[in-house]
Symmetry: D2
């Protein structure tokens, strides 16, 4: 049974370093605003991995998480080749959805550049909604 093979989530917040790529900049000299959702997704993947879960293994078992809602607040621009920290928090899990929040900070001075949140739904390989698997519920819940 999948719930026995996969470890339950115990870590709900995880930080990863991000160094913006040249291709992610735009002609205004900053990181284009469409790049942040890509980084948020990396943050979710690494939060899962910190819990011993590899997202592509979930997909291989027919468990897909798809983004249902996304919110971003851009406070300050991010720049090419500066060191950033992306904090990803699994804020809430129900049978129907998983909520994450995100904070992107400049490493050098701790300045908050971008905040965000997302709601994921869980679907099967045929894109039908399914219950969020048990292992996604934090242990404390």
């Amino acid at each position: 049974m999948e719930n026995e093979r996969i470890r339950k989530i115990t870590i709900t917040c995880h930080s990863i370093p991000i160094v913006p790529r040249y291709a992610e900049t735009d002609r205004a000299g900053m990181i284009h605003h469409s790049v942040f959702p890509v980084w948020f997704e990396m943050g979710r993947t690494e939060l899962l991995r910190a819990n011993g879960i590899v997202y592509k293994d979930l997909e291989a078992e027919g468990i897909f998480f798809v983004v249902a809602e996304l919110r971003l607040k851009y406070r300050k621009p991010a720049f090419y080749d500066e060191l950033l920290d992306l904090e990803t928090t699994c804020a809430n899990v129900t049978h129907a959805k998983v909520e994450h929040t995100y904070r992107l900070l400049r490493r050098e001075n701790g300045l908050l550049l971008t905040e965000g949140s997302s709601i994921l739904a869980c679907v099967s390989a045929d894109r039908k909604l399914r219950r969020v698997p048990e292992f996604m519920y934090p242990e404390s819940a």
Copy 2:
């Protein structure tokens, strides 16, 4: 004076066709969720152009619109090479910000795939906040 040279906005809603590119798909077989903000930006540019304003000319004059907030609701997946219509509406303009809403529809059946909204701030070339120019206020306002 800039406000005299640039026509005032009279059209507040505009639709453009979108045909998703192969590079915009992901391994789940749909358009990746980070692509929609790119399309929304195209919608804003074409809404401006429908009003006789070319966004790059604004930047050449030192008027930059930057995304301050973004919200997306993904209802149904969009697929490679299908015909979509993106409706962009300028929903509200104040001295401090410009709000747009977006609706992405499948042409074939009118199905609403994605909804969104954004708030833009206006900055000068040195990234300092400035007032939203007069011509951005719809005539009816």
Copy 3:
């Protein structure tokens, strides 16, 4: 039989308009060099469509064209929101591969900005090499 249902290619050169998107620029103020392969792919898709063939239908039948080689020569920068023309030519077809060449021109003055070529291999859904289908051979061949 697939070869009977699908029209044979008769048009070997096709041009499409391209208007670079904001997200395709970089902080040097030009279109990032990684964007051109995306446009070339669009050129190939539209060249096929000009011949009555929809590439996604081929994939639905298990015929995938994958890029095996790519060459680009960047002569002049392309800029945000300028009108370009991309000429795509199907230069050679054999059982093993399809060769295209590309020329990207500035509409305003006909200046050649980028040249390129690609070699596609044909694979089945399980990524095994297969013969290039008959309909890809130009009629004159």
Copy 4:
């Protein structure tokens, strides 16, 4: 003088790890071929950094390297979230251009997935060609 402040290049080959992102996949289930030039650019940046040179500092001094030619040979697909190694070699430097070669390998089995090469030209902030700076010449040269 710039040549005195900036260390001369002594390391001509450098390897970086790459883990493909979800957004870099396409609906054929592999990494889209337009992503590799983005990774090659990262390889060049890190090769410079291994030599004590930060590319954005060069740009701040008005030294821009732009891609003049690019060649890629795609041998095997790269997949989402697998560990890759990108080897970047500075193969030749003249007053007019810098040549790099690239090899992308699957860490697990050393399989060569993609090979490539690029030629960079050196331009000033106004996009005029300029000589490649002295420090780019490997010490052994």
